[in-house]
């Protein structure tokens, strides 16, 4: 039961994005966390924001952990199971550090915006300077605290940069309501929204979208 190594994808050590996501969610709302892992975010949202918390998780260990804690979580796959939910059945549909591990991020994002009034997505920024440095000068795929798994084992099959994600949001017709870029320690890079500098300096980002 304690083996959470099969959680997909393996979460980074620093989960300051969870706090940022928590701040974006309105009190008492209805939330679906897709790829909810061991339920940390759902628990935080239930405790601090009194939300009706639901989750989807691929791994049995994660689901069991969640249900044993009393969270409403179903075992399922973001790529195939979001279609079972009706339109606008949640206030927020959240994917934290998961979208890059899906087979079809565009479909998944469209589905999130269909079933939720808002979508919140956090992801690692593949255009961070350290990533660029490791590829451009060292000549290998990036490895960092934020991206700790080597290329041959990583579940992250669809990396993107902050700039790429803005493009995807635009392509699916979403409105970016809020965008927060932050570094490895979870420090927000204030005032850099929309600029190219965030795309270079931020290790991760959280987007609040609507459609």
């Amino acid at each position: 039961m304690d083996d959470l190594s099969q959680l997909t994808p393996k979460p980074p050590r620093d989960r300051s994005d969870l706090q940022l996501i928590c701040n974006m969610v309105a009190e008492g709302s209805k939330v679906l966390d897709v790829g909810c892992g061991d339920g940390s975010l759902l628990k935080m949202l239930a405790d601090r924001k009194n939300v009706a918390a639901r989750g989807v998780e691929l791994s049995q260990a994660g689901v069991n952990r969640c249900v044993a804690q009393g969270l409403s979580v179903v075992q399922g796959d973001a790529d195939t199971d979001l279609e079972t939910y009706p339109n606008k059945s949640f206030d927020y549909v959240i994917m934290s550090h998961t979208i890059q591990a899906t087979d079809r991020p565009k479909t998944v994002l469209s589905e999130m915006l269909r079933i939720g009034r808002h979508a919140i997505v956090s992801f690692p920024n593949f255009a961070h300077w350290l990533v660029r440095y490791q590829i451009a000068l060292k000549g290998h795929m990036p490895l960092s605290e934020n991206l700790p798994i080597p290329w041959y084992e990583t579940p992250n099959v669809h990396f993107c940069s902050i700039k790429d994600f803005r493009g995807l949001a635009d392509e699916v017709g979403a409105t970016v309501e809020q965008e927060i870029a932050f570094d490895g320690e979870g420090r927000q890079l204030a005032g850099w929204r929309g600029g190219t500098l965030a795309n270079l300096m931020a290790e991760r980002a959280v987007f609040l979208l609507s459609k």
Binding site: M1, Q60, V63, V67, A68, G70, S72, Y85
Partner: protein
């Protein structure tokens, strides 16, 4: 409460150490078939104490060959009740906290009205004169029971397999009276393959010369051989290839070499024969026909315009669905259909698929992940219900 007269050759129904409730001709049970069943006796067992607000009652629904003795020691077999590992003081279904009700289903043979009960018209056992009953009919009888017990609504309804079908029927048709529901290893309808297996079992019973058109009691006999074969075939479907291999492999039974005959050379044969022979001592052949038929007829969507999602529209019940990886009788895909319908209805639902090689019977066995899931789900529902202690 009325004690029914002795009418059951399998179990002396009137003397079982459980409670009975008797409904007379003025309150018939209206059956799906259009017929009415009266008088009606329900045999049930309770564990724990109903709290003052009547908010802690759990209805446990038994499977095909189960009965009302779900916890403690079974008074007839002397073995642990079928969910003894799950239900009791300090257990996942904690009887220090909850009031557990388990009733023998109608059509059964452990004290509730069934084929072995006396037909008031003929003053003989019903046999095949009993109207065919359905899962919905079983649940209607359970509703009459909680009305009789003056329990407005249930904290939880739970059960596996045929018990899970009853849970789904409860949640779909009496959602206001079901705070939470745990259907385990079940489906919204019985599959063609499952109907096929049941038909094999029924034909084995019907082919036994001692069946006598269902009037075997009159002939002071019983189709034991046919029923044993039915049980053997069914038992295989409750296990898995991996579990059979792990338990028996091709090991021989008390011998060093095959005998070039049709004796039980293999351990697995001996095991199945034993399962068949012990089953006939505790189960009535006609009941087996009626209850397998009830499962075959189950199709929840059929009662809701062909759409399972309609069965759960506006539901406020909290659900937890559990399936087992090696269950090929009610596979995960069937259980997932329930989850899909509940998602479609925007219901509060959890779904856990537990990895085990123990097959369909996993819900009755020592599977720690099941116990953790039940504990977690009930604790959380209890908090939402405001139950303490």
């Amino acid at each position: 409460m009325h004690k029914p007269s002795k009418s059951d050759p399998i179990a002396d129904a009137g003397s079982l150490p459980c409670d009975y409730v008797h409904f007379g001709d003025d309150t018939p049970l209206k059956l799906d078939s259009g017929m009415e069943l009266a008088p009606l006796t329900l045999a049930y067992q309770t564990y724990g104490t109903l709290n003052a607000n009547k908010t802690n009652a759990i209805m446990v629904c038994h499977a095909l060959t189960g009965d009302q003795f779900c916890a403690g020691t079974h008074p007839i077999t002397g073995k642990p009740g079928w969910w003894e590992m799950l239900i009791g003081p300090g257990k996942p279904v904690d009887t220090d906290k909850y009031f557990v009700i388990c009733s023998n289903v109608i059509g059964g043979c452990m004290g509730t009205t069934g084929p072995t009960s006396l037909n008031p018209v003929t003053d003989k056992p019903y046999g095949h004169a009993l109207p065919v009953v359905t899962i919905a009919d079983m649940v209607r009888a359970q509703v009459m029971l909680i009305d009789h017990l003056e329990i407005p609504d249930l904290f939880c309804v739970m059960g596996g397999s045929m018990g899970g079908m009853q849970v789904l029927d409860w949640a779909a048709k009496y959602t206001d009276r079901v705070f939470s529901a745990m259907p385990i290893a079940t489906a919204t309808k019985h599959s063609a393959q499952n109907i096929a297996f049941h038909e094999v079992g029924r034909q084995a019973v019907l082919a036994d010369p001692n069946w006598h058109g269902g009037d075997y009691t009159e002939h002071q006999t019983s189709p034991h051989k046919g029923l044993a074969v039915a049980r053997m075939a069914a038992h295989i479907t409750y296990l898995s290839e991996a579990a059979l291999h792990r338990k028996f492999g091709r090991n021989l039974q008390d011998r060093d070499a095959v005998t070039f005959g049709f004796d039980a050379d293999f351990q697995v044969e001996s095991y199945l024969r034993y399962q068949g022979s012990t089953f006939v001592d505790r189960f009535d052949a006609n009941s087996y026909l009626y209850l397998t038929r009830a499962m075959d007829y189950f199709d929840l969507a059929a009662d809701f315009g062909g759409q399972t999602i309609n069965a759960f529209a506006e539901t406020k019940t909290r659900f937890c669905i559990v399936s087992f990886t090696s269950d090929w009788l009610f596979p995960t895909s069937e259980n997932r259909q329930i989850v899909r319908a509940l998602n479609g209805a925007a219901a509060d639902v959890s779904f856990v698929e537990i990895e085990t090689d123990k097959g369909h019977d996993s819900f009755l066995l020592d599977v720690p992940e099941l116990f953790e899931t039940v504990t977690g789900f009930l604790n959380s529902a209890a908090r939402q219900r405001g139950l303490t202690g």
